[in-house]
């Protein structure tokens, strides 16, 4: 049987392998030393595989970055030309409504493409940790206040009331403090409010409120839209998910995915409650830390 020491050595070898600091100890005739060499070889080969994987991933990453970067100028140019075309069409007498419609279609698809590329870039950066989410202790109340204020315009444009309901908010010192990255969380919250605006009927209200928990501060965004099918709830956070019903609305199906990823990185999460034709509630749980 093994001596106690040998077992302990092997345990130590494994431990150091797990945190990646393994190195061979001595080279001698002992079986332990041979084991160490074999172990090293194994680690090396698995490390190699890991490195290859990382490399592939980073190649992919670069590719996406390149695509997004390289498409920027053509996109800008396309936009420019399309605008120019629009202006020229205004001066042309024989332009039909049909022609104008086609142009606006081109513009819309271009907008969409632009948004898609932007989202993909963000997503890839987020996923490959190129952009780090850096949660700091911040006040959720002022954060929400600022975002709802800034999005009033967009809401009004769609004939929707965006309400920050702080009647029940607890304004005491630490009630609304949480650990989050303001920049990225803004992205997430805006995406969700944006979605709500997009999918809500006119004259409806979107209510934003803060619910403090012991471990989390939750931001609830409640709309009076069409709601989500029960079976779909789990899928709405998938990449490129779009409901069949609103395939006509704008969007590329990355917003919720991004929002979920962002909150995950802040040790928080998103939850959805929805009832068909009555509306949905998205709740963002920010970890207090």
């Amino acid at each position: 049987m093994f001596g106690n020491k040998t077992i302990e050595r092997i345990e130590k070898m494994l431990d150091s392998a797990m945190d990646g600091t393994f190195s061979e100890n001595d080279y001698d005739e002992s079986k332990l030393s041979r084991l160490e060499s074999k172990w090293k070889r194994y680690l090396h080969s698995s490390q190699l595989a890991k490195n290859q994987l990382d490399e592939t991933k980073s190649n992919l990453e670069t590719l996406i970055a390149d695509i997004s970067h390289q498409t920027k100028t053509p996109m800008a140019n396309l936009k420019l030309y399309s605008e120019l075309l629009g202006e020229r069409m205004n001066n042309m007498p024989d332009v039909t409504d049909e022609d104008r419609k086609l142009l606006s279609q081109i513009n819309a698809q271009m907008e969409k493409m632009d948004f898609l590329i932007m989202s993909l870039t963000k997503m890839s950066r987020l996923e490959s940790n190129i952009i780090e989410v850096k949660p700091v202790n911040a006040d959720v109340y002022s954060f929400v206040r600022e975002i709802t204020d800034s999005m009033q315009g967009s809401a009004n444009k769609n004939g929707i009331t965006l309400l920050f309901d702080d009647k029940d908010s607890d304004m005491s010192d630490n009630a609304n403090k949480a650990l989050f990255d303001t920049k990225w969380t803004r992205e997430a919250l805006s995406n969700i409010i944006d979605n709500a605006i997009k999918y809500s009927p006119e004259k409806s209200t979107i209510t934003v409120s803060i619910i403090p928990y012991e471990m989390y501060v939750a931001i609830s965004v409640r709309d009076e839209g069409m709601g989500i099918e029960e079976g779909e709830v789990a899928r709405i956070f998938d990449r490129f998910y779009r409901s069949d019903e609103n395939s006509d609305a704008e969007g590329v199906g990355l917003g919720l995915y991004l929002a979920r990823e962002i909150l995950k990185r802040e040790n928080g999460y998103i939850k959805v409650k929805s009832q068909k034709n009555k509306g949905s509630e998205f709740i963002l749980y920010l970890w207090r830390g």
Partner: protein, 867 residues
């Protein structure tokens, strides 16, 4: 296999389970302490008694050393003294004997002794110092008293000392003295080195080559080994190793050779040990089991998170150990105290020499053994709870376990019923014994007259029968007694206790009646096995037949004694004997073979037969030389040449215990002659015993006189009075009661504790069930009745069980035991059980109520919430 080390986890779980649930474990610790108390008390009593016996044997033997080598020369002594096996060694040198006439009956040896040897031999001077000058001596106060010299340092005394046949008479000065012991075989008189060197120089030639009969100038070495086990082997080894002559005389101190307890005592101790073990087991097991049951969720939970069966068992075992570590020491001190209180009562009843009775000896061994027994009990008790905890199914533990508990009830109930019944049964047994202890019967046995006077050694069971003085009632005493106005009647008992040589005709009868009787043959076959140097039964019978001797005594009795004899058989069938006929000098009374056994009496001789009784007159005595255990030489009187006289057997009788010499030979064929005829046949002799009846109203004065006489005028004599016997009786029955009732009481407490514990846990386990019942409208009163009924179920079972067992035991074992002992007369008893049962009944009804009241402090809602 190399296993992972999880001791720490086990320890942590075990310990914290106790510290956070201390209330639950306090009762367990209390139970362990109680068990430890009982064991410690028992071992304190047992240990002290053994120690006392050992001490008294030592004093009889006259030394505390493990062993001794005798009759050594200086050279031989030097050979052994540095042997590594010997822890300490010291010696004395034999000088001679004191031959002063006053010391005729107090054998006094003269020795030179080293200080250490004197200390080991209990003769180091308590006052004064060891002798230094030639004319200085140290001796015992008894010797000084006998010599009529004041017991103080500096007294002058004239001594005659026999040194190897040469007698020296000189004046000596007492340089010191020690307190002598009557039971000691011989008193010591220590002389100075100077004196010894002058008169008894150390021998230079070894014993076998020295002239016979010269016991002067030998070195007697006493020594101790590391321990007292296997002394015989050790001394053999010593002799071989040191190369000292193989035939050297050696002695082993009896005190260290076990076997000082008889079988009866061993059985008693065994029963006590078992009872305590059982009591401890019952309570510890029950409480432990209940603790495990109430913690079962915890054990199940531990199992779901991966604690193995083995580990769970370890946890419970560890808890048992922790409880032991706390509980055992708690019980030891009170145990010693209880032992100290009971010891005097118990040791008074022991058949031991009356030296230092009731002295408590507590040593580390007592404590260790008590602790070990308690620990063993705890561990044994924890066995099943361990298994229970280990066998927990994690799923079951996760569920509510009301149904599971139902099955347990009967088992727990059995323990409760058993422990309560045990207390009652023991109480009943003790009571019937105490009640059946018959004073008349006892006193009849112990004394047949108001007073009995004899030598102090006579009825002392601690003294070997050969050392007893059989003619201890002095002529002085008898003449003074005659002067006493209080005396109504006086009777003397004379005795020679040795053997009877038979003529051929008589021997033939003995052969027919006794030696070929099946009962005796089977006894003889049992005893004479032919192993270890013991002859075979046939060899023994051959020897008897060639010698034609039976051991037995010749008694001489006065009329008063004659009237107290129990008649077994007469020629004419009547049970009245005529003193005048007997006193004519032609008749003898004989006894039964084995007449000390109640149920059989086979007469040696039939009334009307003629037998020869041999004289014991000193004129005709010759002496044979014999050697004692330790090689010392002594003489045995031989009466074979004495003249004999013919007598006709008048009747076969039994001599009451209180009258006879209370020592028995193998056959004990006794002849009884009238006083005058006895003296006529044997020459002058003092009585062994004198019985006195006193006028009814004058006992106080007489007692005063006789007490004074036996304490200051002649302390060698001792008297028994009806009063002392009464006291003895009282102390015996007191002991019986105290020990029995203490035991019953403790067992009763244990039983009730068990019951309380069972009730508490059953109520706690069902707290939710009860709350549900309450929620659906069962009133508190109804619940209480429900619980009381449950308690009463135990009570009913206990009643049935204890009554049945008590009755059965009473009419079988106890009846047999009491009928076997003369001092008991059996009577059927069940009263104590009947008296105690209502008390238990009340408690049994009350305890659930108390527990329930306690539970009710928690609101129904809270109880409902508990899963």
């Amino acid at each position: 296999m190399l296993n992972v080390n999880n001791k720490k986890a086990i320890r942590k779980i075990s310990l914290s389970g106790i510290t956070t649930n201390i209330k639950k474990y306090v009762i367990l610790i209390f139970a362990v302490a109680l068990t430890s108390l009982l064991f410690t008390a028992l071992f304190t009593i047992g240990g002290s008694t053994v120690k006392e016996m050992q001490l008294s044997t030592m004093r009889q033997v006259g030394g505390s050393s493990h062993a001794g080598l005798k009759y050594l020369t200086q050279k031989e002594y030097d050979m052994v003294k540095d042997d590594p096996a010997i822890k300490d060694i010291s010696y004395r040198i034999t000088v001679g004997d004191v031959t002063n006439k006053e010391l005729n009956k107090l054998r006094t040896e003269v020795n030179y002794s080293e200080d250490e040897n004197a200390k080991g031999g209990f003769c180091y001077p308590e006052e004064g110092s060891m002798p230094k000058k030639e004319n200085e001596i140290v001796t015992s106060d008894l010797v000084l008293q006998k010599l009529g010299v004041p017991v103080e340092v500096g007294s002058k005394v004239k001594l005659s000392i026999n040194i190897g046949g040469q007698e020296i008479t000189d004046d000596f000065i007492v340089s010191g003295y020690y307190t002598g012991d009557v039971i000691n075989a011989s008193q010591m008189l220590l002389v100075s080195k100077e004196f010894q060197e002058k008169y008894a120089p150390i021998k230079t030639t070894i014993l076998p080559e020295t002239a016979y009969n010269d016991y002067v100038g030998w070195i007697m070495a006493d020594f101790n080994f590391g321990n007292s086990f296997g002394l015989e082997k050790k001394i053999d080894g010593l002799i071989k190793r040191t190369g000292i002559r193989e035939d050297v005389d050696y002695g082993i101190n009896w005190a260290y050779v076990g076997g000082s307890f008889d079988a009866e005592t061993m059985v008693l101790v065994g029963i006590m040990l078992f009872t305590i073990f059982l009591a401890g087991y019952l309570i510890i097991y029950n409480i432990f089991y209940i603790n495990v049951i109430s913690d079962i969720r915890e054990y199940g939970l531990l199992k779901t998170i991966g604690t193995t069966t083995k580990q769970l068992k370890k946890v419970v075992k560890k808890r048992a150990r922790i409880v032991s570590v706390i509980g055992i020491p708690l019980g030891i001190l009170p145990g010693i105290f209880v032992g100290m209180c009971l010891l005097p009562m118990i040791s008074n009843q022991m058949n031991s020499a009356n030296v230092g009775k009731g002295q408590v000896h507590v040593n580390i061994l007592t404590i260790l053994v008590s602790a070990a027994f308690t620990y063993a009990t705890v561990i044994f008790s924890a066995n099943r709870p361990c298994k229970k905890a280990g066998s927990v199914s994690p799923i079951e533990a996760l569920r509510t376990r009301e149904n599971e508990d139902a099955g347990r009830k009967s088992k727990k109930g059995r323990v409760v019923v058993l422990s309560l019944s045990l207390a009652l049964v023991i109480l009943n047994s003790v009571f019937s014994m105490a009640k059946g202890f018959s004073m008349d019967k006892y006193i009849e046995q112990m004394i047949v007259s108001d007073y009995s006077v004899q030598n102090a050694t006579l009825d002392n069971p601690g003294i070997a029968s050969t050392d007893k003085i059989l003619d201890g009632v002095t002529t002085d005493f008898i003449s003074e007694l005659k002067e006493r106005p209080e005396v109504q009647d006086v009777g003397n008992v004379y005795i020679f206790d040795d053997y009877h040589l038979m003529d051929d005709e008589s021997w033939k009868k003995i052969q027919e009646r006794i030696l070929s009787n099946e009962r005796f043959l089977s006894e003889i076959n049992e005893m004479y096995t032919g192993v270890n140097g013991i002859p075979t039964a046939d060899e023994y019978l051959d020897m008897r037949n060639s010698e034609k001797e039976l051991d037995g005594a010749t008694y001489g009795i006065s009329k008063m004694i004659f009237d107290k004899l129990e008649v077994v058989k007469t020629a004419d069938g009547s049970d009245k004997l005529d003193w005048d006929k007997f006193n004519s000098g032609n008749y003898v009374l004989t006894t039964c073979c084995k007449d000390y056994d109640d149920d059989i009496c086979i007469p040696y001789f039939e009334p009307g037969e003629v037998i020869q009784v041999g004289s014991r007159d000193e004129k005709y005595v010759t002496y044979d030389t014999a050697y004692g255990m330790s090689g010392e030489e002594f003489e045995i009187p031989n009466y074979d040449n004495e003249p004999t006289k013919e007598y006709e057997v008048y009747a076969v009788v039994k001599i009451p215990y209180a009258i006879r010499f209370q020592s028995f030979g193998e056959f004990q064929c006794d002849y009884i002659l009238p006083e005058d005829e006895f003296l006529n046949l044997n020459g002058d002799r003092n009585p062994m015993r004198t019985l006195v009846d006193v006028k009814d109203d004058q006992e106080v004065e007489f007692e005063k006189w006789i007490d004074n006489y036996t304490s200051s005028i002649n302390p060698d004599m001792k008297y028994n009075s009806k009063n002392t016997v009464l006291e003895e009786y009282k102390s015996f029955s007191d002991m019986l009661k105290v020990v029995g009732f203490t035991l019953s009481f403790i067992l009763g407490i244990i039983g009730l504790l068990n019951f309380a514990n069972t009730m508490i846990s059953s109520i706690i386990v069902r707290a939710r069930e009860l709350a549900v019942l309450e929620a659906v409208g069962m009133t508190g009163k109804q619940q209480k009745i429900k619980l009381m009924k449950e308690g009463l179920r135990y009570f009913v079972w206990t009643s049935l069980f204890s009554i049945v067992v008590s009755i059965l035991l009473n009419i079988t074992a106890i009846k047999a035991f009491m009928n076997g002992m003369a001092m008991f007369s059996w009577q059927f008893t069940i009263t104590p059980v009947l008296i105690c049962l209502p008390i238990i009944g009340v408690l049994v009804a009350l305890i659930p109520l108390l527990v329930y009241a306690r539970m009710c402090r928690v609101s129904v809602v809270d109880r409902l919430r508990v899963e």
